[in-house]
């Protein structure tokens, strides 16, 4: 391997594919961003990944043979040792997909597949808000809630690599049905999906709100961003809905605090961009529900790498693993 090898990072999400060529210091040479054709099925998604990889490599002016490693984050439950994706609520129809073997065959290069939220946590550990911390949780709040658990400065992946599914811990056993089949999961109460679902429900019930106006009168166009915009203009329902989502966020944070006694909780993902209006009720609730001394020991910090955390974490982790296995 050259002294400062390059790696390819791939971050496959339910709605976007991000690929980037990076080095071990987390510097990005090239980056490609495209939508995930999730509804078109597995083959279309894999075709889109490969096209995105081509563009990123071209932009960096390199070939796959120049890469030291490929690291890939993918949503859902996977086994990093076999590279098989068992199930992914946000990739309909994916079931026992040997993603690593497919990518290795297509690109002719050793590939490491891991959970997308774990990749994001590694990115923040190596290059972002988690630098220097030994024990922390990184949560990514978007369509769902992903989690990455860093213990003793390493990613904790459990018996076969599926650890960190904090979004699927039950916080209200009588709560709404989640995509995973369970009820009252944290992510089904405290994610962007939850916020939109509750807003639609209130609108359909005839609540007084300007949210629908911001969505051009089309209820299907209501998004977290639109609800946030309405709240910013003083819409009471929008504010209440965000505060309620924050409350549920806090219930889950209290659980993580009591279970892990973390020094740090790194919070990222699109929904967290709402900021204080969401996070203040979350912290207030967590403070009320967690053990006092354990709550006081935790610092909440925003993720620093934005959308790049996953590609940076996956690529850098793959480089380190490659080095480790060679050494």
């Amino acid at each position: 391997m050259p002294e400062n090898p390059l790696a390819l990072g791939i971050d496959l999400g339910g709605s976007k594919i991000l690929t980037a060529v990076v080095n071990a210091q987390g510097q990005i040479s090239s980056r490609d961003h495209s939508p995930t054709p999730a509804a078109e099925g597995q083959e279309a998604v894999i075709k889109s990944i490969l096209e995105s990889v081509d563009r990123a490599l071209n932009q960096a002016g390199i070939a796959t043979s120049d890469l030291g490693a490929i690291g890939m984050g993918a949503p859902g439950i996977s086994n990093p040792e076999t590279g098989i994706i068992f199930a992914s609520p946000n990739l309909p129809g994916w079931r026992d997909v040997p993603l690593r073997d497919i990518i290795e065959r297509e690109l002719g290069k050793k590939t490491l597949v891991m959970n997308d939220a774990n990749a994001a946590a590694l990115g923040e550990l190596y290059f972002g808000a988690g630098r220097g911390a030994r024990n922390f949780i990184c949560i990514t709040i978007g369509t769902g809630i992903g989690g990455g658990i860093i213990i003793d400065g390493k990613i904790y992946t459990g018996a076969f690599g599926a650890a960190g599914e904090v979004g699927h811990m039950t916080i209200d056993n009588n709560g709404p049905l989640c995509n995973c089949g369970n009820t009252g999961c944290w992510e089904t109460l405290a994610s962007g999906t939850a916020l939109v679902r509750e807003a639609k429900h209130q609108i359909e019930e005839g609540a007084r709100t300007s949210i629908l106006d911001y969505a051009g009168g089309d209820i299907e166009k209501v998004t977290p961003r639109i609800i946030h915009a309405a709240a910013g203009q003083g819409d009471n329902l929008a504010r209440e809905l965000i505060a309620q989502t924050g409350y549920y966020l806090g219930v889950g944070l209290a659980n993580l605090i009591n279970i892990f006694n973390p020094e740090l909780i790194v919070i990222g993902g699109g929904l967290s961009n709402i900021g204080d209006m969401l996070l203040n009720p979350a912290f207030k609730t967590a403070k009320k529900r967690a053990y006092r001394e354990v709550y006081q020991a935790v610092r909440f910090v925003p993720a620093e790498l934005g959308q790049n955390s996953g590609v940076l974490g996956a690529a850098a982790f793959a480089l380190r693993e490659m080095k480790r296995t060679i050494a």
Copy 2:
């Protein structure tokens, strides 16, 4: 230190104090068991601990000067580095108690204080059901639910030693009030306390049941053991209450499975002695609620050391730490 040094293990619980002289192989030379005068306050409890230690040492025919180390498990939130107990729901009035310093001063010997459920997990790791496992959770179901998290063959204690409070993860945010001040904690729905509370409630509501007969007609004498006895004789309410407790147990187990992807969950504590009637509904619920592959990867095993897990774990851990700091 002699080649095979002895250690003193102390397991302080809300209702019992257990002390034992043990060696590094987990063999017990002497053992003393006495009630905790919790209601009489801190000084009475410490006096009882010291009396129990005296009896155990006398029985083994040794003095504190013969001990290589003292390890102590205590309930509630503590900091092993300072040996201070911040709060303990089962020891009324205990607040910021410098337990380690008190014991060291009284016994004149270096002492290590840790959470009681962590001590139990270490006991099972070294000498019991967790031997050879790298990543597992040990839960102790009694008056409450304690947890110990073993990661990479070591106890995970978090930022300052309070990790593992799995009994205080919320599984029903609208649930009953817990001793810790939170609502809907796992232990307030799935412990012996929960089972007894629900039985009393049903009896007061006039439910048809023989539970009260088994308690000699005194509702204050209803215990998990009595409810189990009634269930064994076919009492429908008793069976339903145990099954309901099992259901809640399963909700929390599913959370731990999704979060930790553990290879093993070791289940101990008095309530777990009910066996299948409690555990079958728990496993059924966990199977339904956790990710399929992650559920399939976990083995549930009963704790092997019974009441001795805490003294064995605390004593052996203290010996190892002493060795490590000397070396």
